[in-house]
Symmetry: C2
Subunit: 355 residues, 2 copies
């Protein structure tokens, strides 16, 4: 394969001039430029990206590390939305995204070292997880660029983007209460998937009850695991309560699908005998039947925002050689009302339709 020297020789100029042409410097005579271009074409020359990297000390690669294994990422539509958001932004700026999906925290630390310390990547998008705190602080100290999805530690003020789960829970619960519901069943985020400092949606749910001066139904709260099958099984648990809940709210869409399936098996239709509110509002869900009311978590934006933040840091570092900190950002959820929250289950009850 041709090198820049071959091109230089063929065009009868110096390597530096070839470099100038390639990198679009204006200080080249039109005629020289054309000679060079011609030589490049004839030799089918492409600059060696690695050599360039070594010289410029940037790779144009960004690592994306999620510590829960490849099934978790590739088969969870919510994860994929985040990933897609980041990927879109990054590739739009000619960065490659290197996805790493270690199985646990220990392996994740290893991966992060491999990528960042060996300088395979310029920066990192990092899933907040148990045990990541020391790592994050190490990066900060060393000036290694990263942005985390969720806070890595409670006092973290910069370089993270996080879903405001409590506010989502608050929004959802407030709404369900306004429909007249009092006994709401909740499935929360799995504790092990919560970022070290991330607060659960359940805090918001409790706040909504408190504001109305109502007692929170602690006995109707289940910790979920984000899977369809778990939620399906949980349906039985909720329905076995007496009196049973008139509405269910869960922390993710896949769990809502599970609830839906569970309810259907018991002959209950969401929006009729019982209300159902989902927790992500994924694009995929919108195409399913029936149309789920949901709290929109804006996961795509979350990933995109993380990437944007990282790009700002990277650009600053490259252009001025200085470190930047960007204030952490919370994304507020939005309520999307569709067919599965009608309040009819409450009306029935007040009308005496117990069963």
């Amino acid at each position: 394969m041709a090198t820049i020297y071959d091109v230089a020789k063929k065009a009868g100029v110096s390597p530096k001039t070839v470099s100038r042409v390639i990198n679009g410097s204006r200080h080249v005579r039109e005629e020289t430029k054309n000679k060079v271009l011609e030589a490049i074409r004839e030799l089918d020359y492409y600059p060696h990206a690695i050599a360039k990297s070594l010289k410029k000390k940037i790779t144009r690669n960004v690592g994306y590390v999620v510590p829960y294994g490849s099934d978790f990422v590739f088969r969870d539509p919510g994860q994929l939305e985040q990933l897609k958001g980041a990927h879109n932004v990054l590739t739009g700026e000619d960065y490659n995204l290197i996805l790493s999906v270690p199985n646990n925290g220990r392996e994740a630390l290893f991966e992060v070292n491999r990528l960042l310390k060996h300088r395979e990547v310029d920066g990192l998008i990092l899933y907040a997880m148990e045990g990541v705190e020391t790592l994050a602080k190490d990066f900060e100290e060393k000036g290694l660029p990263y942005v985390s999805l969720g806070k890595c530690y409670p006092e973290q003020e910069y370089n993270f983007v996080e879903i405001d789960s409590p506010s989502g829970g608050y929004l959802a619960t407030k709404y369900l209460l306004s429909l007249g519901h009092r006994r709401i069943g909740f499935i929360t985020e799995p504790a092990r998937f919560l970022a070290p400092a991330k607060e659960s949606m359940i805090m918001g749910c409790m706040k909504a009850y408190a504001e109305e001066g109502l007692e929170f139904p602690h006995h109707l709260v289940l910790e979920g695991d984000y899977t369809v099958s778990f939620a399906e099984q949980a349906t039985g648990w909720f329905l076995s309560k007496d009196p049973r809940p008139t509405a269910l709210f869960c922390a993710s869409d896949p769990m809502a699908w599970g609830l839906m399936r569970g309810l259907r098996k018991k002959g209950l239709t969401p929006g009729v005998e019982i209300d159902l509110l989902a927790g992500d509002d994924l694009p995929f869900t919108r195409v399913l039947e029936p149309e789920l009311s949901a709290v929109n978590s804006r996961l795509h934006e979350l990933g995109a925002e993380a990437a944007e933040m990282l790009l700002v840091i990277l650009r600053k570092k490259q252009e001025t050689g200085t470190r930047t900190k960007i204030p952490g950002r919370y994304l507020r959820s939005e309520l999307v009302i569709r067919g599965t929250t009608t309040g009819r289950s409450v009306q029935r009850e007040t009308a005496g339709f117990h069963r």
Copy 2:
């Protein structure tokens, strides 16, 4: 950040010795080795991956190019299975996967150049697509390692892995015919997503009819687009036929979900009033309701196999400097019978249950 020279100086040896220690050469005295290791630890030294790449002329990156845009990849569970299969194998061998999702063939050619000719990657997994032929042949000529998902051109004999769609269609149709079905509705793969040389499943469907000496219902064939919504709409078209089909078979799982939704809206239950056979058997589908009978396309294996093949080529090239060709491989689909194919719709009919 420390370099190999810093380590050498600190340990009182030459850079070469440090290199030997790092790369596990046996020709180092235990004592020297320990000194070096100690220095590495103290300096928190990590070898610079880019510099190493430049020297060794390998990147340990593999490109994965799919030319239909990021929605197509990140939101189609079938695509994700292939990707996951490849990702698993590649990362298992310490390769990074660089995903590129250009929007069309023209951009794809550009991407492929960017990745391979600029040597950002050692090799490529390439989605077969219209217009890829010249590119593939160019790679072969230049000895650039690639494996394609699907054939890039009809005569391609090597370095591809492909789903044997016709055999899947044959299997599916043979089975449905054995249940007594005669009027089967088909939704095929979208022509634009077919690899240049890939044959449609419909060839196999026709063959199955021919073998039984039955006339193929050409009027019941629709070209799909792999989306849920298309299939949902198609349901009406199928049901408007008189007499209407007693079974439906489509080329992908998402389309089967669409059919299911369409049927349910018309009050028809798959497996009861009409049989339904899906086309991928994705893990995700297995968790949905009702449980879909399907032709298992083994997409995860497809991606994994492509990666394995590429690794063989890469290893050979690295170890011996020679090019290798691996005979193309077809993956045969398997039939997975669950709840949505029972033949009851045919029995009803023969019993006089027209409606």
